[in-house]
Each structure stands twice: as structure tokens, then as C-alpha cells.
Symmetry: C2
């Protein structure tokens, strides 16, 4: 906390200084005004890392529920699952053949066949009623338990059957062609940990263990509030100067994809009171509220004022990055409000950077951060990057090396370049133009 | 067809030869017997590539349906979508500021402010009623249309307002701070192609274009039939020698994950008639039928006989690979039957190799093959691989290089190593033990 206050004071000091001397040079002067207006300090122009810390640090704990195994795909375990038994439960034959004592075969060979007496046949699903002793064998089908006394199995195709005997033409070592109990999973072993996402093979393994119901985290509910007088919904004829509300559709889909339940609350105009009403509805019904629009410089007061009207405390405003700098986070009774840019691409890039890890954590996932990988640029990027910049691109492979190619325009409103984007590469602040072949760190969005 | 017959005859020739001379050396001798029994030739021990060709080449065409945009996440487009309008539809301001004629600012500088008269203010969602002429400016909010006559915008924070005037302190070039109509998408442009999977940004873009409903491929229906006397379902107390049916659970989940609709038909014992009844039910209700179990050497006749009883033609039996060699494919009235191994891991590896591309193609996806990448082994693999072998592993990154580490045991029944598996690396037939650092081709399962 001491650190936080100190940073704020420095920020405020610079803000003050800038407002007096730097007018006309592109600096925002609202820091101090806002701090004064709301009677406190909030952090402005924070790093993406710090913004993420604010959100993850205030992520509420998720609830639990029990679901039937077949309905658990994609859900997140809220408990470690231990195997209550071995899988397989008994030593079994991996093939159709004959079980016998390996010691019997010591001298067996192509010209010296070992002839064994077949005393029983055991299909899969049945158990042998007899034991195998010297000179005897039991026919076992794939999956059948290994009879007592036997310690090796020969493939059916490698034998010669005749009446109630079978000939073997080679020596076997003890344990050959036997799948041991517990080869897949040992009793007591943790087969899946709390925080893992349930996938098809895990469902199969849980079924094998006889687990028909599991405890998972409740899906996080995420409310979506759009702001902006210019927004019209689908289906309406577009009036001049208006645009269609696309953000609530893409956000709802992103939230679903992450295992959350989107609650599209609605669209408010540019009046703080109107936004606050929807925001409060979102806070009442959901775990997190996301707004779009109303967070850039001139729009500043709309979402900010709505947050205040809703009784929430601003955690930060503006992130030191491009695109998506105009972003706001606030907290009300342990529930987060994340104000995203109304510019579609800027809003969605910040969604990927901040909201996606937040929703994953809220959903109970143990791994909620994007994987960072090193990529080589496949083409030049000609612009300077005075502040940290995130580029939208696609991972391509050349030999074992990861390259990134751009998926389209990088403007704040260019949503089309997100469609095939599975990489967000990070250009450090202060970088000049980049050449193809340059190394960048990137978030792997999958 | 000529090629197919020739290959079959060669296969049959070798099979015949082997059946006469190689008894006891581990070769399957059922090829010719089976060809005789069913009065024709089928391909046996095909390559994984050939098996895949058989399936993809017989993949039926998917049906279509229309869905509302918010319900389209994960669905596959069955038409190219063209933009009916520009996005944005008009030149707009990307920030809160003032629109003016760039030519006016030619001599403007820090010590030579240009003073403009503010003649109107245009919020987002509204249109200017006036045009901008020399010496005049219109205040524009983020997203507002650029007024007629103006060709540049200055940020609000870089100006000084006084009464109904505003001062600018620098020169601007024409077009500065203006987002052009069509910057994201141009009217007539294809924004998404037939066969693409609908994702969140595409949903946003389609909303922006006013598209509220789209045409997608119907979800493919995939029937799952389990075979095996040893199988018990969840919830029942496990009898001695029995195991739980896990395959139908994991298969259903895999099918769902791929956008298919699983139809779990049920479990048959080891009688062909019983299997055929369930198979026919699957053929009647689904686009594809998958069975598990009953396809290895001794089990051979069960699924094979059931296929014959169902009136289907066998396309191939056995694949030249490990795990999962016992696999069968058949065709009945244009519908495919895929018989997978009952060994959980073997069955699921083949599912990934063959069924997953098949279901994706059936679902209408343009990209249905797994991406192949080059990886370096992170650890030794000590076994010989007389036939082509697929190893289960996990992609890890070191710098920009893709490495593969094993996710557990590689046995036919080891399902647990599939849980974290996102790579299937391919060891060529005839390979000896492999050292860490060796290069392999791998299928990237994500």
C-alpha cells in the first residue's frame, strides 16, 4: 500500500506539472483533476502487468457445483481426483493368445516346439476357474485376466493349435505380453488436479474409475454493458452517423468460449446515470461487469461517473499500451468492473490481455495466464512504437521455428485482423520500425 | 480403381505366401481367409495416410441450417460472407478533438498558434449540420463523422479552448487523425469464407455488418457403439474380470468438442448379431458410426461380421502403425463405420488421427487436417519401432523452438497419457531407440 500511494503521488506531481507547462504537447492533464474530483488517488497509465495484477488480485472466489460426468466437458475441477482403484484392476492379456509359465518355454524353439495342454478358455469379462501349472495353458482373449500360475502370454497367431493342445516355437521371459494392474493408473494416484479443465480423455479415465459425478467450479457470470449514443442494435435500420453494437456480441462469445456465462444487460447512451443503472444491474446479477465505450479522454466522465454513482472505487484508469490504453477498472463490494474501449479492436485486445485471464481465474482454472512464446517477425513493421504496442498476428511454423505474420491492419477499430489472430506480439516501448526476422515475445492465444 | 485392385492382389499374394510359410513368426494370416470368406478383397494393414484417404474420400456432404448470430459460436459457415457495407461506414474521428482544414495549419507552431472558430459540436451518433471552411472548426467526439470540408483532427488535449475559439500549436497533414470509411472492412470484401469456424471477433464483425442470422453446416451426428462382454457401465458394482466402459464417454466428449452431436447407442456383448443391431440403429440415426472393441485378431469376426450383417462393405482392416493397428472402416449406403480398438489409448490415438479429421470435414470445416510441425524430442525414447509409431506428448517451448516431452506411458491401454497430450509425434517404421534432441514430425492436436 505504501508503494501504491507513493506511485500515485509521483503521478499526481507529474500530472500537475504537465498541466501547467505541457499544454499542446499531447499529455493528458486529467490525472490531478480526477484525483481532486473524486477525493482520492487512483492509478493512471499503469503497465499492462500492473493492470492485470489489480484484476487478478481482486478476483473473487468461484462457487462450486456437482455435474454428471457426461456434462463435465470443459468444466474446471474444484478438487483433486484420486484413483480409488488400479487401472487396469487386474493383470490382463493385451492380445488373444495362451497364458502359460515362461519357465516351461526355456528350451522351446522353431525346431523344438513346446506342446501345452489347453485346460480352459477365458473370454474378456470372465475369470479363469483353474490355475496354470507346468505343461498346461489357458486360452485368454484380449482383456481377459491372467490366470493364476501363468506369467507370460503368446499371441494366437504365433502358435499351432491341434485338438486340445497348442505348440509354441520360442522362449518367453516372465511378464511377456502381460499388462500389469495399475499400468495406466495406480490406486491412490492423483489423476487430475483441482483447477484442470475436463477434457475427453479425462472423462474416459474418470468413467474407467467409476466416477459418475464430479465437483466443478460454477461458471462465472459476466455482465456486458455497452455505452454510446451512436450504438444501434442488429435488425434496426442504421441511422446516419450511427454504428451497430458489435462489442456486446463479440464479448458474449469470448465469455462463452472461456466457460463463462455472458449476461448481456443492454446499451446505455452517454449519460452516466443511465450507465450506472445498467452497471448496478450487472453487479447484482453477475460476478464481473464489463462495459464498452465511455472510457477515453473526453468520454472519461461517463463510465467514471457511472462507477461513482454505482458506489464503486476506481482501481486504475488508462494502461500504458497501444491499442486499448483507455481502460478502467473499479471494485464494488468485491466485484470487479472492467471498462473497455469502445473501439472494437482495442477493446478486444485488452479483453484478451486482461479479461481472459480474469475470467479463467474466476472459472477456477489453475492456469489462467496466456503462454508467452518467442517468435520471429515474418515481415517488417514500419511504425515507431513510443509506447508498448501489441500486434495482432498468426503463428506460422517454419521447420521447428515459430514465426508471426500479421493478420491485417493494426488500427484501434480494425476488428477483422482479430479473426485469425492467435498471437499478440509485444513491442517494447521506445522501439523503432522492426525488420522481418526480429525476435519478439508474444502471447499465444490458444 | 485399377490401382486399388492391384494393391489388393499384391496384399493377397503376400498374405497367401505368409500363411503357408511363416506360421509362428508373428504374421497375421487372416488376410486371405477373410478375403475368401467375404467373397472379395479388402485392404489390410494400410498406411495411416491411406486409411485417412479412405475415410475422407467417403465423407458424406453435410446439411445446412440457419442460426441466429449469438448462437453461432463454433459453428461452421456454409457460405462465403461478403460485407454489404464499409466498416466503418463513414470517415470518423478516432478521438475527442476538433476537425478542420489541414491547409489552415501550414504556418502553425508553438509560438504561432492558429486560432479557429468553433461552429458546432458533434457527439458520436450524430451528424454535423454544417461544413468546415477556412478558419472554422467543428468539435468532434470519438466516433463522430468527419464534417464536410474538414480533412484533419486535433486531439482535445493538444489544444487550448477559449470561448468559442480553439488554438492549435502545430501543422497537420491532410488525413491526420481520421479513420477512413472501409478501414476495417470494404464493401464487397469477403469477411469470412465457407468452411471457417465462427469465433468471437467474427461474430462481432458480422454484428457490425448488421448480419443477425447466418447459414451454417448442420452438426454431424456420430453414433457410438461399444462392444465387449467385459464392459460394465458407470454406477454398477464392478464384477470380477469386468472393466468399466470408458470409451463411449471419451468418444462422446471428443465428438462434442469437434462440434458433432454424439449419439451413444449402447453396449453390445461379443455377438455379431447384437453388434449389428446397434450398428444398424446408428446407421439409421447418424452420419457416421463408431464402434470400439471387437476388431483385433481374435475379436476380428465380431465387428467384421456385424458389418456384413448390417450390409456394409469393408474398406480396410488394420493400419500399419502402433498403437491402434486393429482398426476397421466400412461403408453402407454412403455412411461410414469406423471400428476402433477397444484398448482406450489405442482407440483414442486412432480417433485423433482418423476420426477427428473426418468429423471436422463432415462438419464442413475447410481445414480438417491436423497441423504437422517439427519438434525436437526432449527426452530419450528407448524402444525400437519396427512399424510406424505415434508417441503421446506435450508441446513445450524453449526460446522459439518446439520440443516434445512425453505425457506418460505409451502402452495401448494407457489413457492417462492422453490427458495432457497435445502432440502426436511420428516415429518412422524401422527406427531404433531415439535420443533427446532428435527431430520428429508431429501432429499438433490443437
Amino acid at each position: 500500500m505504501a508503494y501504491k500511494v507513493r506511485v500515485n503521488l509521483i503521478g499526481a506531481y507529474f500530472g500537475m506539472f504537465l498541466s501547467l507547462s505541457c499544454k499542446g504537447r499531447g499529455f493528458s492533464v486529467l490525472t490531478v483533476e480526477s484525483a481532486r474530483k473524486y477525493g482520492g488517488f487512483m492509478e493512471t497509465n499503469v503497465s499492462a502487468e500492473k493492470a492485470l495484477q489489480f484484476l487478478l488480485g481482486n478476483c473473487p472466489a468461484g462457487g462450486q457445483e456437482r455435474v454428471a460426468l457426461p456434462d463435465s466437458l470443459g468444466r474446471v475441477l474444484d478438487e483433486d481426483i484420486r484413483a480409488g482403484e488400479d487401472i487396469p484392476q487386474f493383470d490382463r492379456s493385451p492380445l488373444d493368445g495362451y497364458a502359460f509359465r515362461a519357465a516351461d518355454t526355456l528350451r522351446a524353439g522353431e525346431d523344438n516346439p513346446l506342446i501345452l495342454e489347453v485346460i480352459e478358455e477365458v473370454p474378456a469379462g470372465y475369470t479363469p476357474s483353474k490355475a496354470v501349472s507346468a505343461g498346461k495353458t489357458i486360452k485368454v482373449m484380449t482383456g481377459a485376466p491372467i490366470p493364476e500360475g501363468a506369467d507370460a502370454v503368446v499371441k494366437y497367431e504365433e502358435t499351432l493349435e491341434k485338438g486340445n493342445t497348442v505348440s509354441l516355437f520360442q522362449a518367453f521371459r516372465s511378464g511377456q505380453n502381460i499388462v500389469r494392474a495399475g499400468e495406466d493408473v495406480m490406486k491412490g494416484q492423483i489423476v487430475a488436479r483441482k483447477g484442470s479443465v475436463v477434457n475427453p480423455p479425462l472423462i474416459g479415465l474418470l468413467a474407467a474409475l467409476g466416477i459418475s459425478e464430479i465437483s466443478v467450479f460454477r461458471r462465472p457470470r459476466v455482465a456486458v454493458v455497452s455505452t454510446g449514443e451512436e450504438l444501434q442494435d442488429l435488425g434496426e435500420e442504421l441511422e446516419k452517423g450511427k454504428i451497430r453494437n458489435s462489442n456486446s456480441y463479440s464479448l458474449a462469445a469470448y465469455i462463452s468460449e472461456l466457460g463463462g456465462e455472458p449476461l448481456v444487460i443492454g446499451t446505455a447512451g452517454d449519460k452516466a446515470e443511465e450507465v450506472a443503472v445498467l452497471m448496478k444491474r450487472g453487479l447484482a446479477e453477475a460476478d464481473v461487469v464489463m462495459t464498452t465505450g465511455g472510457v477515453s479522454v473526453g468520454d472519461y466522465d461517463v463510465v467514471q461517473d457511472a462507477v461513482r454513482l454505482a458506489g464503486a472505487e476506481v482501481l486504475f484508469w488508462r494502461i500504458d499500451m497501444k491499442p486499448g490504453s483507455p481502460t478502467l477498472a473499479a471494485l464494488k463490494d468485491g466485484k470487479l468492473i472492467l471498462g473497455l474501449s469502445g473501439n472494437p479492436a482495442a477493446g478486444m485486445v485488452v479483453f484478451q490481455l486482461l479479461a481472459s485471464p480474469l475470467i479463467k481465474k474466476l472459472a477456477g482454472r489453475a492456469e489462467y495466464l496466456w503462454q508467452r512464446i518467442e517468435v520471429l517477425l515474418k515481415e517488417d513493421f514500419r511504425k515507431n512504437s513510443p509506447r508498448r504496442r501489441y500486434l495482432r498476428g498468426r503463428l506460422v511454423w517454419e521447420k521447428g521455428t515459430a514465426l508471426m505474420e500479421f493478420t491485417g491492419g493494426q488500427g484501434n477499430d480494425v476488428l477483422s485482423s482479430l479473426i485469425e489472430c492467435d498471437l499478440l506480439a509485444e513491442i517494447p516501448a521506445g522501439s523503432g520500425p522492426l525488420k522481418a526476422g526480429e525476435k519478439l515475445e508474444a502471447l499465444l492465444l490458444k
